[in-house]
Structures are given as structure tokens and as C-alpha cells.
Amino acid sequence: MRNKILLIAILFLVGGAIFFLPSDEKKIRASLASLAEYCSTDKEEPVFDTLQKAASAAKLCSDPCTVKFETFKIDREFSQKELTDRFLMMKKRLPNTSFSFHDTVIDIVDGNRAEVITTLRINGKIVDQQFTDAYELDITVDKKDGDWRFSSFTVVEFMKK
């Protein structure tokens, strides 16, 4: 009887651990949420926080990381240093702006690579005027040393003026 109770308790513990351990998909979603948080800028964000967030956003990406954005003729690899500078520039240009990801679909291609399709929504204020923008993104995420890092961002452009 005691053995049975012990066995059930062990099964519960193992089952609970498996259930509560973050899956790869949960880890990628958490990274996306962090990226959105680091890219967002509060109205009166201290300069030190801005610097730290820009560096943290870049650290979520692989070194190098490919960025493709046809409208702006961008199609190349960026080093982590370049990404930090770009994130910093973006945050300085867009104070009081929030980033968020929606409709995210994650496809784990193999144990070490995932393809993500998501919608990036940007809400902010420029010169007292509210703006909203949205982009469809294809993101590749690679697992290295146990950590998932964004290795490419492609802005999907499917509307032709």
C-alpha cells in the first residue's frame, strides 16, 4: 500500500514537472514578449534604461542576425553591436511607443530551429499625434547552447500600391 502511494506521488511529481517546465514554444513566446518590452519606450524612460533595453533586445538575437525589409532596401546580416545601435536609434526616435506581437504561430521545424509568423503592432505618439502601425513578420529562431535566439527577421510585404 505504501509503495503504491509512493509510486503515485512520484508519478504526480514527474507529470507536474513535465507540465510546468517551459516548452520550446513557451520559451520562444517569452522571448518575443521580452523583445516587445525592450523595444517599447516609456515617455520618460531614463537614458540608462534605454541603453540597457537596446542591449538586451540585441542579446535576444544571434550574432549575426539577418534582416530583410524590401521597402527600405535592407537585406543583410547585422552584428549584435549594429543591432544594439539600431535598437537604440529606434527607441530615441520613437519615445512613448509600445511594441506588441499578435496572432503568433510557431512551427518548430526541428529540435534546433523554429519558424515564426507574427504580426508586429506599434502604437505611439509623434508630435502629439497618435499612430498605429502593423507589420507581418517571418522570424527564424535558432537554438544554440540551450537558448533560443532570433536569427532572421523578414518583413512580409504583400500589398502593392
Binding site: D103, T119, Q129, D133, A134, E136, F158, M159, K160, K161
Partner: protein
């Protein structure tokens, strides 16, 4: 996923003159547009299998607003 209004179907022509929308040369009344910039876009014909979509928020300059012809297979649903 983006939310846009279909303003023209394949085979129809689309044009903007001073922010006003013209489909097949006819001015379209758009009471749902509250802020309008002076967009000017020469006439073009929507390709087969495509629709022309525009958002209702037209207060931004045309270059910053994402709109245009898109393949119908991109449509995932309508607004209820």
C-alpha cells in the same frame, strides 16, 4: 494579421485624388474616413485574383500607410 477595407475588386480601377477615392472613375463616398490626407495615386487596374485594400485611418502620409493590391488568398475572414 491586418484589418483593412476592400475598396475594389479585380478588374476595377482605383485612384486617389487629393485623398478622395475613385473606383472605375466614380467618386466613392466614405463616411467611415474621419481624417483624410491629400493622397494622390494614379489610376491602376486591380489584377485578376486580387483585391484592393485600404485602411480607414488615412490621416498619415500616403508613403507611411500600408495599402494596395493583395492576393485574395491572403484574406482570412471578414469583420462581423
Amino acid at each position: 494579421m491586418l484589418l483593412k477595407r476592400i475598396v475594389a475588386l479585380s478588374g476595377e480601377t482605383v485612384e486617389f485624388r487629393e485623398g478622395e477615392l475613385y473606383v472605375d472613375g466614380n467618386l466613392i463616398e466614405e463616411p467611415y474616413v474621419h481624417h483624410r490626407s491629400n493622397w494622390n495615386l494614379p489610376q491602376r487596374t486591380v489584377a485578376p485574383g486580387h483585391v484592393y485594400v485600404v485602411g480607414d485611418n488615412r490621416g498619415t502620409p500616403m508613403a507611411l500607410h500600408k495599402f494596395g493590391e493583395t492576393n485574395m488568398n491572403r484574406i482570412v475572414g471578414g469583420v462581423l
